[in-house]
């Protein structure tokens, strides 16, 4: 703001006055729904999940093994149409402890979220997922080894949620 300007337009309203109808307002909730086809590469990924496997795709040119899989390599711009099952274990790259739900409401039991670099994919190829079977979130560490905990085969629908969460890997 310039010191040459002396008038600052804008009038703040009280949120409660709007919500409780004390000032003119209009409310509308659109009823819009979507049904997405899951595409060439992600269809393979989701079919894999239904069978209890994490499927990656490999670039024909640079050879990167990529997860989530994609039909083309965004770097080489060539087909990445070799689909390879990789492991369902990995390493925590970063994590967070969320007390906030999607609508910004607060939740008591935190959601544990992480980026997990998956074994068998190229270095640094992580996926977003949840963590579970952890009593105290302070036990979570960067670099911690984890393994997918799957839903039972009959419960799987071909969704990222066919993996319930990743839990600490008991080595050996």
């Amino acid at each position: 703001m310039s010191e040459k300007i002396k008038r600052f337009p804008g009038e703040q309203l009280k949120g409660a006055d709007i919500r409780e109808g004390r000032i003119p307002s209009v409310k509308h909730r659109p009823n819009v729904k979507y049904l997405w086809s899951t595409g060439v590469a992600m269809s393979r990924f989701l079919e894999g999940l239904k069978k209890g496997k994490i499927v990656a795709s490999a670039c024909r040119k640079c050879g990167r093994i990529m997860v989530p899989p994609r039909a083309f390599c965004e770097q080489c711009f060539k087909p990445a149409d070799e689909y390879v099952p990789i492991k369902d274990t990995g390493t925590i790259n970063t994590y967070s402890v969320s007390y906030v739900a999607g609508d910004a409401s607060r939740i008591k039991e935190p959601i544990l979220v992480a980026v997990i670099d998956i074994d068998g994919a190229s270095e640094g190829m992580g996926i977003l997922h949840l963590l579970g079977e952890i009593d105290d979130w302070k036990q979570i560490k960067f670099g911690m080894r984890v393994k997918a905990v799957w839903k039972r085969p009959e419960e799987r629908t071909g969704s990222i949620t066919d993996i319930k969460y990743f839990a600490p890997l008991k080595e050996g």
Binding site: E3, I5, P9, G15, F45, P68, G124, L128
Partner: protein, 390 residues
């Protein structure tokens, strides 16, 4: 200086509304207020404007899914060449970049650049609209919400460099204090590092006072070609560098500790402005700070600090208004508020006012000649930069 484009481009006027939650004015009315103020400051009327670029972020906030057209009248675009640009949170600074090429191309002598956002219309909270920015197939079924991705990035940044929360909290303290001197600011306050550390844990390591607010507001700038600018003002501010860059949407496939896309945008702008040593040559910067850690992260992306060193500069007071490299003298998004596209444009306005010596109580010391504004957006993948000189 090497010439980029056909014409050199100046900023000759700027304006902005109050930034607040629940402003009475519609988005169109806010855009009109800011645009009118910028025209007044430039000594122009709407008939003098040859082109208009409007920046505004996701349609889902306003709930009008042709937002550019809906806001057009407020941006003064009636029967003029008009476009709306949108690159997520990077929009506010990309809007002036787009305005630059309108004039630099030689196609137009003037361009009105407007950033607008009205987030509080999304009810009861705009966070819900943000859930629709994620990939519907592999991300949304997990219940992902915007704050998660910032928390994951912040945590990675802290882990790689061994940065403590209290080092990051200093940014929030500085910016909210700076905002006390900004007459349009939403959240100017005197708080302490302890206040930040004791605030509600939202999504560890992100706490309540690490985050900028939900805001409504608009900001605008007038751009003119060199010959027109020199007729209208004795102290134009020149746009000497523009840059923008995007990374892959697969944000879980890259190391989040460093924003390469911001570096890419900065390299483009520095090259154009002939800047070889950014920390020495930039006198004042408005760095995108929707979260306190982002100011540090972006200072490193902009090469204003070496990797992992931005917290140290902050602790030493270098980034204070009276420091050697003042960062966010306006108060930033943490203090002035974060109406997304308008917030980035506000940063461009602040650099303009700083370089003209008009910033009043917020004026940084030492007659700044070169300033930078930067914004960032999308799924942690977009950077936009502008460099101005007086």
């Amino acid at each position: 200086m090497e010439m980029f484009g056909k014409k050199r481009v100046a900023v000759i006027g700027a304006g902005m509304t109050l930034f607040r939650r629940n402003l009475k004015e519609t988005g169109k009315e806010l855009a009109w207020e800011a645009s009118s103020m910028a025209l007044d400051q430039a000594g122009l009327e709407l008939k003098d404007i040859q082109s208009v670029v409007m920046g505004t972020a996701p349609d889902a906030f306003d709930g009008v899914h042709m937002k550019g057209e809906y806001l057009a009248d407020g941006a003064g675009s009636w029967r003029k060449p008009y476009s709306r640009v949108f690159v997520g949170g990077g929009t506010g600074v990309f809007t002036i970049d787009a305005g630059w090429w309108h004039v630099a191309s030689g196609q137009f002598d003037t361009c009105l650049v407007v950033g607008e956002e009205k987030m509080s219309s999304c009810y009861p909270h705009p966070a819900y609209a943000f859930t629709t920015i994620f990939d519907p197939i592999y991300a949304r079924p997990l219940g992902v919400t915007l704050i998660w991705i910032f928390a994951l990035e912040m945590h990675r940044y802290m882990h790689v460099h061994g940065i403590k929360k209290e080092e990051i909290a200093r940014v929030s303290v500085k910016n909210k204090r700076n905002a006390l001197d900004h007459p349009c600011a939403q959240l100017g306050a005197n708080i302490t590092v302890e206040d930040v550390l004791n605030s509600e844990v939202m999504c560890w390591p992100v706490q309540r006072l690490d985050i900028s607010p939900t805001s409504d507001g608009a900001a605008a700038l007038i751009l003119a070609s060199e010959d027109v600018a020199k007729k209208l003002t004795d102290n134009p501010v020149w746009i000497d560098g523009v840059g923008w860059c995007i990374d892959s949407t697969f944000w879980t496939n890259r190391d989040l500790y460093f924003p390469q896309y911001v570096q890419g945008a900065a390299q483009m702008a520095y090259k154009m402005a002939g800047i070889k040593n950014p920390p020495k040559e930039i006198d004042v910067a408005e760095v995108y700070d929707p979260f306190d850690y982002k100011e540090l992260h972006h200072m490193e992306g902009l090469m204003l600090a070496r990797k992992g060193q931005a917290p140290k500069l902050t602790a030493e007071g270098v980034t204070q208004r009276d420091g050697d490299l003042p960062i966010n003298p306006s108060g930033g998004l943490l203090g002035v508020g974060n109406p997304i596209a308008a917030a980035g444009t506000m940063k461009c306005c602040e650099i303009f006012w700083q370089l003209r010596g008009e910033a009043g109580k917020r004026q940084v010391k030492g007659d700044p000649r070169t300033g930078l504004a930067q914004a960032w957006g999308d799924l942690m993948q977009y950077g936009s930069v502008v460099i101005m000189r007086s």
